[in-house]
Symmetry: C2
Subunit: 447 residues, 2 copies
């Protein structure tokens, strides 16, 4: 194995990422509602020695609820069920800094992290939709900058809480009756603009110290936030050149926060349609495209672009869309979709087909070798540290990836054959987490 190894995360969504997956004969749509389905996906990912599985999340029903399967499980609970059925695979849950309290959320993640023996990760999101805001007493989504402001303070509190218990705080000396060393259990005493939190957290540190921090915002504020905190970044990049530019940009920002390039893994998304021949893979993709419901897709697209397209003719180009400054939701996805439509002069129908697989993520149809080649190319040419694998249909699309693409990557020495650690932090090749108070003590002891 080369010293730099690939990281693979399975992004699991219902019965697949393709928006029409649930209508395809390879899929049993009822499984989207069944926790056992997701537990099985966790087992498949672990069989493939993947770094982690990941669930996205939103705090409202999706648009046009009656036309597509909905995410029905809250990710932290669902991953806890997967934790109980697996031993190694990392478990990344999405949760919002805009509509949670840091004490409660830090605790839920710490609990998952201990239950899984150090496999938890948190995909930090700020929740960009009005529908979510309306479930939390607001008329519309708070401004982008305000959300990132709260997110930053939220992280500072969560990090302090996760450090409240030094790793060697617990003594459990039954004879003397001393459970913990009080000098190693710390309050947070955070007083800030959004939060006042005393601490300590009521969960001691997990085997990996604290959950791995993951992020997926690609706007300026998103990238700054990622450079400061994230240990893995999910991103939608359509071409190698764009991927390289994003990768260089993000890695270049790390030094500004005293971090090294290898402290953060960049994981672009890929939606792989895999078949024994290229033609078969393309035909498979086409089958899914043909099942798209235009009215559902238009609703999705309207949300991404901030303009009502539901009555727009399918065979016309996009109408004028608002300027990026008017977008308070997902700025980077807006930009990607707008650039795609304009750059390739697509009609709305064509655009919908291109977005159907992964809502803007790169779709790739090919043989197992072609998929492996593409992954290797991005990995070796400075566009990726690995991939966020987004199977278009599930479980089949994950199974075929694990059974046909992973062995090729293993044979090429790019990917592990066995886990060499047990925590997500170890899988990602990150440095061990060092508790802030242990550092202080070491410094005091040194002089």
């Amino acid at each position: 194995m080369t010293s730099r190894t690939l990281h693979l995360n399975a992004f699991l969504m219902g019965v697949g990422h393709h928006e029409a997956a649930w209508r395809h004969p390879r899929v049993d749509p009822a499984r989207a509602l069944d926790a056992a389905h997701y537990v099985e996906l966790g087992r498949i990912a672990e069989r493939g020695r993947l770094d982690s599985v990941f669930f996205a999340d939103g705090l409202a029903v999706g648009p046009h609820v009656h036309r597509n399967t909905q995410a029905v499980f809250e990710p932290i609970t669902l991953l806890t069920a997967i934790a109980a059925a697996t031993t190694h695979v990392g478990l990344i849950a999405t949760a919002s800094t805009s509509y949670n309290e840091p004490y409660t959320l830090a605790r839920a993640f710490a609990s998952l992290d201990r239950i899984s023996n150090g496999r938890a990760g948190w995909n930090i999101v700020t929740s960009g939709s009005d529908a979510e805001a309306a479930n939390f007493g607001l008329d519309r989504v708070p401004a982008h900058a305000a959300r990132y402001g709260r997110a930053t303070e939220f992280l500072d509190v969560a990090l302090a809480l996760w450090d409240s218990w030094e790793p060697d705080a617990i003594l459990q000396d039954a004879s003397s009756g001393v459970f913990a060393d009080p000098a190693k259990v710390h309050r947070a005493d955070h007083v800030g603009q959004h939060f006042r939190v005393a601490g300590p957290l009521n969960v001691p540190a997990s085997p990996q110290g604290r959950p791995v921090l993951v992020q997926a915002g690609s706007s300026e504020s998103g990238k700054a936030f990622a450079a400061q905190y994230a240990e893995a970044v999910f991103t939608a990049q359509r071409t190698l050149a764009e991927g390289q530019a994003f990768y260089a940009d993000l890695k270049g920002r790390l030094a500004g926060y005293g971090r090294r390039p290898e402290d953060l893994a960049v994981l672009p998304g890929i939606v792989p349609f895999i078949a024994p021949t290229t033609a078969q893979a393309r035909a498979l993709e086409q089958e899914f495209t043909d099942l798209i419901s235009p009215d559902y897709a238009l609703r999705q697209l309207s949300g991404m672009l901030g303009v009502d397209l539901t009555d727009h003719p399918l065979d016309a180009p996009l109408p004028p869309v608002p300027p990026i400054d008017a977008i308070e939701g997902n700025k980077s996805r807006y930009q990607l979709v707008r650039d795609l439509a304009e750059g390739e002069s697509l009609t709305v129908r064509e655009l919908i087909a291109r977005l159907g697989g992964g809502r803007g993520h790169r779709t790739f149809a090919g043989t197992p070798v072609e998929v492996a080649d593409e992954i290797q190319r991005w990995f070796e040419q400075g566009a990726a540290d690995g991939f966020n694998v987004m199977p278009p249909y599930l479980p089949g699309g994950l199974e075929v990836f694990v059974e046909t693409v992973v062995p090729i990557l293993q044979d090429r020495g790019l990917f592990r054959r066995e886990y060499d650690g047990t925590t997500l932090r170890e899988h990602l090749g990150l440095r061990p987490h060092v508790n802030r108070y242990a550092v202080e003590e070491a410094e005091r002891a040194a002089g």
Copy 2:
């Protein structure tokens, strides 16, 4: 089996309810920190055909953190891990209405409820300590009445959200592309004093419709709240007469909310020390009493009574305590402890010994037959619909209950030999939940 059957819930706490359990040789204190321990307890409870297992919770570390094992897992995640390893036993998690948002919490419970196929219950608490308040931006705990006011509105929102999806809303018709019937997915559109929540919830209804509601407040507001919402009530009652009075009081309030006596199960706590002879059981209890650390116990007692006892002499009676109106935390526990100390003229040392087993809950040392007799007596004499079984040490104290007391109750026809349903609602003998919109439709259809 008689038509009225006993309900048994296992209240699981660390390595046991006795505050010195972790120091006793029957106990391995490290297990308190290990999720596998709790999963094993869930399996033992299921082997005993118990209705449910239950975790208490608080949103801060306990007082005197270094002198006792701490609860280290968040209950909803921990119960999800247990859900994955069991098939029937009910799963009751404590969560606070004071420091959560209804959308988020309703969703987490709905997720646990679906993952467990309809076994979730929620022990609704309002969080009575200053330590908790300080983790959520407050200087001290909000007033008792204000907490119950928020709790009431919280419940109204949660109940509306759990009804958002009618049970038959999901069609999943892949050929037409229709996932759900939009007429059967409802918004909540709640606008109240504490919350504005649009809905619908993004989790469809579980097999039991919604989680079972459990409550454990015994003050006037607590009992009114329980009478309105709760389907099971945990309570600390020290004598049969007190138990009968509480039982009659609570059941008598139900009609005021249009409910029947059997819509709510009253479950007093019992901390059983079980051994082959009465003398051995008493000796076992004494072993635990002898391991109490007075300084830890005084800290606990100070919290319950709202007065600093940490320097008070152990062999003196209690000093004067504040009047009940000054207690903003747990009023009913305050009253129980004060009445116990005054009624029996106990010294502080004696009081601590009496409280060590279950913090005020009834402790009972006896043979399996004596424990079964006591349970039957309360059950048949109008003091209980079952018990909240609080093993003084774990797992041993639960094992001996399941292996020696449960068979006696089964032989007497008081307790199930096999589960006859799969949901917690069924175990508790509650009526099926009827979705509010289904009622409306039925009424419209009827004319």
